[in-house]
């Protein structure tokens, strides 16, 4: 046999061997239940049932299980990204490899705008009824925060095909449909963007500096004198934050983000996480600094209802905040102005915030705050009333 035939033979068996090693690796290696990198629970082995089998669900669940627990999953995902970057790809799986180290998720064409508008309209109607019935006056406002894809459009790669949809249009449409008075934070964000970093490079959230820009827009609308940033205590808690967008792309060579947190030295806070019955005097849980999902350090990640009392607040006003995670980094600025802030995560709060408002006559303000990235797919907003 000639030498090159022998090499061909060896190649074939090497390939077969690699297949076997990976499948054996799968069988023998311990399985993780949670992926730190992807920040999600991995698929469980499905339970066999006739109905699952007939519909094919069982088979697709097994496929998901095999792919989720595949040996070296994270490294393989990195390899794929590297190969695509090497080919000159500037968009990978809906994430744009933007300038200055930014990974920016595309804004997907929204499909639920009409429905969400209707839900918000119903909610606003309920608040209106409440005002009429109880003779209360409630300031209902909504701030929908555009994502980096909209505000940092200048950073997007050159010649990126135009999106067929625009976040500002969706925001406008939702304002129309709901009839709720809107707070537009886009110009404040753009202005802040000229002086600092308003979105994380590797995560879909705004930075605390971006949140401060949002806060300025809220102040302007509600007639508060904003606390200057210099008067807050700033603390850099990590420079290693690699968030959700990073996990979608796995571009490991990109440096992590810095998270700076702000506290107002004049605040005297009691933060009551009602669902877990824990009370704290801080809006931050710095245990998360050592974990992958560092953004969770703001307001301790997800809680259905958090009651924040500031004894030294400048007014007796009480705010109901209906929100997603974007608001978690905005709250530390708002505490100055409200004696009480009730923070609802409508994904997990099931009793209807409007009932809560009815039962709490002290509530004077309601702010709905969502980001445009997840609003369309956010199931939480459907439980808003």
């Amino acid at each position: 046999m000639t030498g090159e035939k022998r090499i061909r033979e060896i190649t074939a068996w090497l390939l077969a061997g690699m297949v076997l090693v990976l499948s054996l690796g799968f069988a023998l290696l311990p399985k993780k239940t949670f992926s730190e990198n992807e920040n999600r629970y991995l698929a469980k082995f499905p339970v066999l049932a006739w109905e699952n089998l007939r519909s094919g669900q069982y088979m697709s669940d097994i496929s998901a299980y095999l792919s989720d627990h595949f040996p070296g999953r994270d490294s393989f995902m990195e390899l794929k990204t590297q190969a695509e970057l090497l080919q000159g790809r500037r968009e990978i799986g809906g994430v744009c490899i933007a300038d200055d180290g930014y990974l920016i998720e595309r804004y997907e064409e929204p499909v639920n705008t009409e429905k969400i508008g209707e839900i918000l309209h119903t909610f606003a109607g309920k608040i209106g009824d409440m005002e009429a019935a109880d003779g209360r006056s409630l300031n209902l406002r909504m701030m929908l925060v555009p994502t980096a894809f909209c505000i940092l459009a200048d950073y997007l790669p050159e010649h990126l095909p135009e999106s067929s949809c625009d976040q500002m249009d969706t925001i406008g449409r939702l304002g129309e449909l709901s009839g709720i008075r809107m707070i537009d934070c886009s110009s404040s964000l753009r202005e802040a963007g000229m002086n600092g970093q308003i979105y994380y490079r590797l995560d879909h959230h705004w930075t605390t500096y971006g949140a401060y820009a949002g806060y300025l827009a809220v102040c302007q609308e509600l007639g508060f004198e904003p606390v200057p940033l210099q008067e807050m205590n700033a603390q850099t808690v990590t420079t290693e934050f690699k968030g959700t967008v990073y996990s979608k792309v796995n571009a490991y060579m990109l440096p992590g983000d810095t998270i700076t947190i702000y506290t107002n030295p004049e605040d005297r806070l009691t933060v009551n996480y009602t669902d877990t019955e824990t009370v704290s005097d801080s809006l931050y849980n710095l245990d998360y600094v050592d974990q992958k999902d560092k953004y969770s350090l703001f307001l301790d990640n997800l809680h259905s209802l958090i009651e924040i009392t500031n004894e030294t607040a400048e007014s007796d006003r009480e705010l109901v905040l209906l929100k997603d995670s974007y608001a978690n980094s905005l709250v530390p600025f708002l505490t100055r102005h409200f004696r009480k802030i009730y923070v609802f995560d409508t994904r997990s709060y099931r009793l209807g915030p409007s009932n809560f408002i009815g039962e709490h006559p002290g509530v004077t303000d309601i702010l709905i705050l969502y980001n445009m990235n997840t609003l369309d797919s956010d199931l939480g907003i459907r439980a808003i009333y």
Partner: protein
């Protein structure tokens, strides 16, 4: 289950092969049958009954034909019975709604749609099974007396869901006795891997490009981008489809079977006639042998020849899917083939080769645009856009974007769509022994790197469609 998936590649296939090699020959068909049924049931847990039924019908009629078919008319009776049931099943599950929908539109009737989901691979296994009963009637194959052996043939997983259409005559002998040769199994592994790389690394990526172009707002898309998108879809379809055949042929070698080649560099064709000698060969030869020639082929005068061509190409189009765009696509080729035969074929041969390639590629790319749009209006708009008749810009920044992002992919795909790789291998054979060994080592490293990369794409759960759900 698709071949290019983690369950198939890392679990189903290795397990099947290990058992298959471990058992004595008498049990090999049994193992193959069990795994084939699991393979099909994985995607079609209910409709598997349909495949068992079709196989049973042709098998039974074959036995009856053998036993009672003492004269040609009596044999024909069983043939007609068998083919009628086969086609009835196919028509009911694949074409019922298409037929009623067309009737509703033409006659203003309102026959409700059945809404049946199309069983995967039904067109493939029906045509395979029909080849048996027709060949048996013609006395070209012996009768198969074991239902399980026959079912093994019909359901054999390597070619069950996406071809090639393997006729009974091609594997009959190997079904009963075959040798599994080590060198063939090794070549089979490499051939399978080539198919895997083509599907995962090229076809799927070209598909992402096409999907992206398709999602653009047509009014703002430039003509160049429209052509780029259509070319990407052509590459996707070719690499996807031929990859399935590569993987099927490779697995056949591993199992001791020899399936026919299905693609011979169709995009390198120099005429439409040439294209169809190279594209999905097992389908066109099926229609040639079982429809075109029985109808009289080209031996019964020009008028009949034209009719036969149009019938065959109408059916070829329809075979690809129950929608009018597929019929249109088939007839488009029927007409072009007639024109090449009777009008400009001679003239075409005198053109320089480059122009003949260009002529063919343009026709093929436009053809696949017809193939992919089942909405008439969208198809019309896209074709107008490509023709530059929509008033769109000729060139735009987005085209540059796609070239930057997918340029490497497109160049690799184009190079592999032409017979360059075989030529390089021929040239390498002429090297002195040291050079040959060095080249083989580079080849080995390439296989391993591409395997890891293909696995990375599979694990990352990226775009990995199965395009033949309508066949």
């Amino acid at each position: 289950m698709v071949f290019s998936s983690i369950p198939f590649l890392f679990f189903f296939l290795p397990l099947c092969l290990l058992l298959y090699y471990a058992v004595p020959f008498s049990m090999k068909n049994g193992i193959l049958l069990i795994f084939s049924l699991v393979f099909y049931a994985w995607g079609e847990p209910v409709y598997i009954v349909l495949m068992l039924f079709t196989a049973a019908v042709d098998y039974t009629n074959g036995r009856l034909m053998d036993k009672f078919g003492t004269s040609k008319p009596r044999r024909r009776l069983f043939l007609i019975a068998s083919v009628t049931v086969d086609l009835a099943v196919l028509a009911f599950f694949k074409y019922a709604d298409f037929l009623t929908g067309t009737l509703n539109r033409l006659l203003g009737a309102s026959i409700p749609a059945l809404g049946l989901r199309l069983p995967v691979g039904i067109s493939f296994f029906t045509f395979q099974s029909m080849s048996y009963i027709i060949d048996l009637y013609r006395g070209q194959v012996p009768v198969e007396t074991n239902y399980l052996t026959y079912l093994t043939y019909v359901s054999m997983f390597p070619q069950l869901v996406a071809g090639p259409i393997v006729r009974f005559s091609a594997v009959n002998r190997e079904l009963h006795s075959r040798r599994i040769r080590k060198d063939e199994a090794e070549n089979g592994i490499l051939r399978f891997m080539q198919g895997l790389f083509k599907k995962v690394l090229i076809a799927n990526q070209a598909g992402v490009l096409w999907e992206s172009v398709r999602a653009l707002e047509m009014a703002r898309t430039s003509v160049a981008t429209a052509w780029l998108g259509a070319a990407a879809f052509t590459l996707q379809l070719y690499f996807d489809f031929s990859a399935y055949s590569d993987m099927a042929i490779g697995m056949g070698w591993m199992l001791g079977f020899h399936f026919p080649e299905n693609f011979r560099y169709p995009l390198a064709a120099v005429s439409v006639t040439d294209f169809w000698r190279r594209w999905h060969i097992s389908l066109s030869s099926w229609f040639r042998d079982y429809v075109y020639i029985p109808l009289g082929g080209n031996r019964a005068g020009t008028a009949k020849h034209l009719r036969n061509m149009l019938v065959v190409w109408f059916l070829t189009g329809l075979w690809h899917g129950a929608a009018w765009n597929f019929v249109l696509w088939g007839l488009y080729y029927g007409v072009l083939l007639i024109l090449e035969k009777y009008v400009w074929g001679k003239w075409l041969e005198k053109l320089p080769k480059g122009l003949r390639h260009l002529y063919t590629l343009v026709i093929v790319v436009v053809g696949f645009v017809i193939f992919t749009f089942d909405d008439g209006t969208a198809l019309r708009n896209y074709l107008l856009l490509m023709a530059g008749a929509g008033g769109n810009r000729l060139w735009g920044g987005e085209c540059l974007w796609y070239l930057k992002n997918y340029g490497v992919l497109l160049v690799c795909a184009a190079a592999l769509a032409f017979p360059i790789y075989p030529r390089i291998r021929e040239e390498l054979k002429k090297l002195p022994s040291g050079g040959r060994i060095a080249a083989a080592c580079v080849g080995a490293a390439g296989y391993i790197a591409l395997f890891l990369l293909a696995t990375a794409y599979l694990v990352s759960d990226t775009y990995n469609p199965f395009l033949y759900f309508r066949f």
